[in-house]
């Protein structure tokens, strides 16, 4: 008779039936959820993230924003494993200070992006489980977005979504900001007001369908005047 136990719902059977010695693995990573989004405009950049910290089906915190202010012109959004997010931001802060002390100037967005890539690749064989997106202003005052993978590959984009709901948000941004898959549409350049409203709408949609996204949305708007924050409530269930 074919043993039914082995083909049950991944390992759930093993709780109730003795199937022999089982190797228990310790995983150094956990997935804490969260979604991050960044958009670059002509003279502004927006970095937005939800504020829910979760694990499995539970919520750890409803007020854990994933945007970290690095300098007056750069904000880093990181989602994934919260432990690695915290350590990574500590390391970046320390490196920013070191740069300031030895070069007597603040790091530019492009420089921070290049440095982050090196830091991430330094841990190529035990990676930081973090999806990073940097948003800021470049040396000419234009908006810049740099998106990373967990081991440091990066590129400059106009807009990027990362984290648990990224697969839901990215196609919508491709269509609304990149005007992809559309014809006969007037391609107006993105204004700050339209970008903020788009970000809010897109997160409301993500919170409807992704269980890891919700609670509140924190939007950091970076212009030459500085960094302004806006907090918008999202679904709490």
């Amino acid at each position: 008779m074919i043993s039914a136990q082995a083909y049950g719902e991944n390992g759930k059977m093993k709780e109730y039936h003795y199937t022999g010695p089982v190797e228990h693995k310790f995983s150094p990573y956990a997935f804490n959820g969260g979604t991050v989004l960044a958009v670059a405009g002509e003279d502004f950049a927006i970095v937005a993230s939800d504020t829910r910290l979760s694990e499995g089906y539970s919520i750890h915190s409803r007020d854990s924003p994933k945007c970290y202010k690095l300098t007056d012109t750069t904000v880093l959004g990181c989602s994934g494993f919260h432990g690695d997010c915290l350590t990574l931001t500590k390391i970046i802060d320390a490196r920013l200070k070191m740069y300031k002390h030895s070069n007597n100037k603040t790091m530019t967005s492009g420089a921070i992006a290049a440095m982050l890539s090196t830091i991430l690749y330094g841990r190529r064989f035990f990676p930081y489980y973090v999806y990073n997106i940097i948003g800021g202003l470049d040396e000419e005052g234009r908006g810049a977005v740099y998106s990373f993978d967990p081991v440091g590959s990066y590129q400059r984009d106009t807009y990027k979504a990362g984290g648990s709901a990224s697969a839901m948000l990215q196609p919508l941004l491709d269509n609304q900001i990149g005007f992809k898959n559309m014809e006969n549409v007037e391609e107006v350049p993105l204004t700050l007001e339209k970008a903020v409203q788009l970000v809010k709408d897109v997160f409301i949609s993500a919170a409807e369908r992704d269980v890891y996204t919700g609670d509140a949305l924190e939007i950091c708007i970076i212009t030459k005047e500085g960094i302004r924050e806006e907090i918008v409530p999202l679904r709490k269930d």
Binding site: I2, K200, V211
Partner: protein, 280 residues
């Protein structure tokens, strides 16, 4: 002349013919691993309470498929008999089909015997069926009903276990819901108290558990009849999008257009006279 295909009668029970093939696919060949499609689970909070005049059952309305919300308004309180309703948690297809099979069995029994089914009959049928399938049917059910012997609340687990209790919570959100029930349950509550207790228990599950959400459904069963309140409480989170995302005609590019004439040939013509009424 032998037939190239022979119709075999369907074997009962689960068919494990593909299990070895699935194991090979999942463990991967040189090209890579292929992940099996996961069945949709309801990831739920369901609760039930026995009160003075009957039973109150409650459920949330979110169905999840992995971590994506598949259905925001799914009905988890299933009809079994006019006096028996069942809340289901676990694999969505399993709870649906199991309760449908149970309901049709009890209808046949009612017709044969001329009696209303008792809750304990429903429980026994479920236990038999789920035990026979050795837990492969992932249905975690809360059965509640009022029959000639009184009001009853039972839980049936996927392996065929059964429990008869005055208050109950199941599903992924059962821990927060049970907390509320343990705190405020009293024997012989009145209707409004019982409804608010179940509603608050489901609400706790919705807020604390990521697999539960959206609205709260309630079902009140008494000797007189059933009050299926769907939704009892709508989700207070209705943040509307500010912009309208509509596309004008012509936005999707038409790449090619071919028109093929279909030649029609008149084969047969029949005329049938119709009787029209009311002719003067």
């Amino acid at each position: 002349m032998a037939l190239s295909c022979v119709l075999e009668p369907a074997l009962s029970g689960f068919n494990f013919e593909n299990s070895t093939r699935n194991i090979v696919l999942e463990n991967g060949s040189e090209e890579g691993k292929i992940k099996a499609p996961k069945p949709m689970k309801t990831g739920t909070t369901i609760a039930g309470v026995v009160y003075k005049d009957g039973v109150v059952l409650g459920a949330d309305t979110r169905a999840t498929s992995d971590e994506v919300v598949a259905d925001k308004m799914c009905a988890k309180i299933h009809y079994i008999a006019p006096n028996i309703y069942c809340c289901g948690a676990g694999t969505a297809a399993d709870t649906e089909k199991t309760t449908e099979i149970l309901s049709s069995n009890l209808t046949i029994f009612s017709m044969n015997s001329g009696r209303n089914p008792r809750v304990v009959m429903a429980v026994n049928i479920l236990q038999d069926m789920l035990f026979r399938y050795r837990g492969m049917i992932g249905a975690h059910l809360i059965l509640g009903g009022v029959d000639c012997t009184g009001s009853h609340l039972y839980t049936v687990g996927p392996y065929g276990s059964m429990d008869k209790v005055p208050y109950l919570a199941m599903g992924s959100g059962n821990l927060p819901a049970m907390g509320i029930l343990e705190d405020r349950f009293k024997a012989n509550m009145d209707l409004e108290e019982a409804k608010s207790l179940v509603s608050d228990a489901i609400h706790a599950g919705i807020m604390s558990d990521l697999g539960s959400g959206n609205n709260i459904d309630l079902c009140v069963i008494t000797k007189e009849g059933v009050d299926y309140i769907r939704p009892h409480k709508e989700s207070p989170f209705n943040y509307k999008r500010q912009a309208k995302y509509k596309y004008k005609p012509g936005t999707t590019p038409v790449l090619t257009k071919t028109v093929t004439q279909v030649e029609l040939e008149l084969l047969d013509e029949t005329v049938q006279m119709m009787e029209t009424a009311g002719s003067s």
